[in-house]
Amino acid sequence: MTALERAIADPRPVEGLGDHSPMAGLARRSVGFYDVLAQSVSAVAPSAAATTVPLMVAAAAGKATVLALFAALLLCLLVATTVNQFTRRLSAPGSLFTFVSKGLGGGAGFVTGVTLLIGYGFIAMFSLAGAGYYLAILVGHFVPGAESSGLLVSILIVAMGGLSFVVLARGIRISTRVTLLVETLSVGIILVLVVALLSTQGPGIDWSLLSLGDTTPGDFAIGAVLAITAFVGFESSATLGVEARRPFATIPRSIVWTVIVSGLLYLVASYTQFVGFSGLGRDFIDSGSPVNDLATAYGVEWMGLLLDLSIAASFFACAVSSTTALVRVVFAMGREGLLPSAFGRTHRRFSTPIVAICVTLPILTLVPVLVIAAGNDAWQAMSFFIVGAAGGYIAAYILVCAAVPVFLARIGEATVWPFVRASAAAVALAVVLTVYLVAELATPQWPGVVIVVAIVLLAVTGHALLGVRYPDRRRSVGAYDEPTREDVLGG
């Protein structure tokens, strides 16, 4: 009889396991691969990004835009495989916050948590504002002038916030299904437009778009940084660690696939936009809304209407999925005692982190309304939020890449390649973040940079003070969905 057969026939009891996970209360092991994928994909909002980011990148990188997007794709793949060193080993709704706590300790974990909350929070506000803005444009097709009404945009933002609340509170399956449907439809619409445009161009590839051309390395770097903002959010499926079935298989897979699929969409969409404009003899960079302009110029104006609807829907999906991730990080912080324990409470029937939803969603809805009420238009508000979001995400990515080598060494599983990948990603991202923040300081979006840095400093100070008052709270940091007796043979 082999040891395995003996163990199965007469399992020896396993010590050191509890009956309940510290993260009990969420709908454990209830969603499959496609739900998990939907979470990451909609947090990235590829259709909204494919129509807006290439223009931003082109302003810096010129003809090297496609190449800059490709560089961003490679860097994000590097980050994704590094994050997956954690997602293959522990499932935690606190996501990067918990991972960094496990590698670099509670202090660094807390800073990561704050930067991650900034990332999710600002992108949620960005998307709610974006949904309101594009819905107003849609109304403007029928009622001329409606799109410039700040009041209408604000009302639409509040309506979208309310709808998000219902979807988020009713359960994780509903929110992932809704976002998957919306995102698939809007990516489909963009692909139809891409095919329609490319078919008017005839066969052949414009190879000049796949070279650096006369772009300087500095401009290329800034272009690549902006391109990264099109990818952020790909890690958000990690927050579904408790709720996913077979999380150690589905979450790493969803993270890598999100980067690959959205990257390919960006490459195709940016290439098409360039080719489309050069076919018209116009410059892509001078366009205000390139995709709408292209649709009009090529005689498919009705696509513009459909496109506005799909971008609004994509923004809504992005708001839902970013808030889904955000409330789970808040929930994990509540369970660990970094925030009041009420945040760790879940809804009895829907198994969602209801207190975190009730507290954060009204804030995420009201801030964009207030920013618009202060005299900014919706687009200004959005460019301001996106700076904060990019800063928060990239800072969190740097910290998680730095944590991987320490974590692997701590559990005795350090090998060469993960170490090389993590170090390369951390260094590259640190350069990228510095370049980005310095460049943004010189733009009208500078308050975004200042606010992010201020929030991080405030949080660090607050955490240090909390540590003095409640020293034992810091020790418990890093709780995750531990295996229970039920999971092991002989439990």
């Binding site: 082999t2 395995l4 396993v14 010590e15 077979r246 690959i260 599983e413 090998t415 295996p483 039920e486």
Partner: protein, 244 residues
């Protein structure tokens, strides 16, 4: 869908030789006991460290192994028990097959025989004329079928709570109490509306539940079960020495 991880090195860990390596890793964890670390497994087997870590992570992904709360150690997952359950049970002896064939002639409905493990069910002989509507569900969801309810009731009477019982729905308590009180189990409409099944236990000489006889048929017959239960129980008594 192609596995994107395949391109980055996981592929090697999925080749046939790797299946052998994966089983030796499971064997090593079983031998060393819960809490063994990745490095200890690699040293114990003389496998390269990177390969061992990859295999361990794959086995954790598929839940054959569980990573302990210290994140360093590994334990066998509950799922390894299924490795044993997957092996097809031996064909019953001819004497048993004759009893079953004779019972089927009398019953005008599906007659199936299953064998029980500690927390598993294997089908010994399913009725070729009245096949199971959802065989996989019978094997996995013990709270759905009469066969599964028999096993859950047995586990409850022995004071054991299995993983599957813990996952079962809230309404299960009444079913189990009824099964324990009457000595047989039944359900209606959980697989096919208007149809149901009755399960009667087959015990060895020590009273241990070893196998089960199941009748499936239309609702009206399940609702007046006296004659069916008597027939199944009588055949079950003949089968007990042949199957136990």
């Amino acid at each position: 869908m192609v596995d994107p991880l395949g391109a980055s090195g996981e592929l090697r860990a999925r080749q046939p030789k790797a299946i052998h390596s994966a089983l030796t890793v499971l064997e090593e964890v079983a031998r060393a006991g819960a809490g063994v670390t990745a490095r200890e497994v690699s040293e114990g087997l003389g496998l390269p460290r990177a390969t061992t870590y990859r295999l361990l992570n794959l086995l954790v992904q598929d839940e054959y192994l569980v990573r302990m709360p210290d994140l360093r150690g590994f334990a066998l997952g509950r799922k390894v028990a299924e490795l044993v359950g997957q092996v097809a049970p031996a064909r019953p002896p001819q004497a048993a097959r004759e009893v079953i064939a004779e019972l089927r002639q009398r019953m005008r409905g599906g007659v199936h025989v299953v064998r029980y493990g500690d927390d598993s069910i294997s089908i010994v002989d399913s009725d070729p004329d009245f096949p199971f509507s959802d065989e996989l569900r019978v094997l996995r969801e013990f709270d759905a079928s009469a066969i599964g309810l028999l096993l859950l009731a047995e586990q409850r009477s022995l004071g054991r709570v299995s993983a599957r019982a813990a996952h079962a729905g809230r309404g299960i308590d009444d079913d189990l109490a009824a099964a324990l009180a009457r000595g047989y189990s039944s359900q209606i409409g959980r697989f096919v509306p208007g149809f149901g099944c009755i399960g009667v236990p087959i015990r060895d000489s020590n009273g241990m539940l070893v196998a089960g006889l199941c009748f499936s048929g239309p609702r009206t017959r399940i609702e007046s079960p006296e004659r069916i239960v008597a027939e199944l129980a009588s055949s079950g008594r003949s089968l007990a020495p042949l199957l136990a």
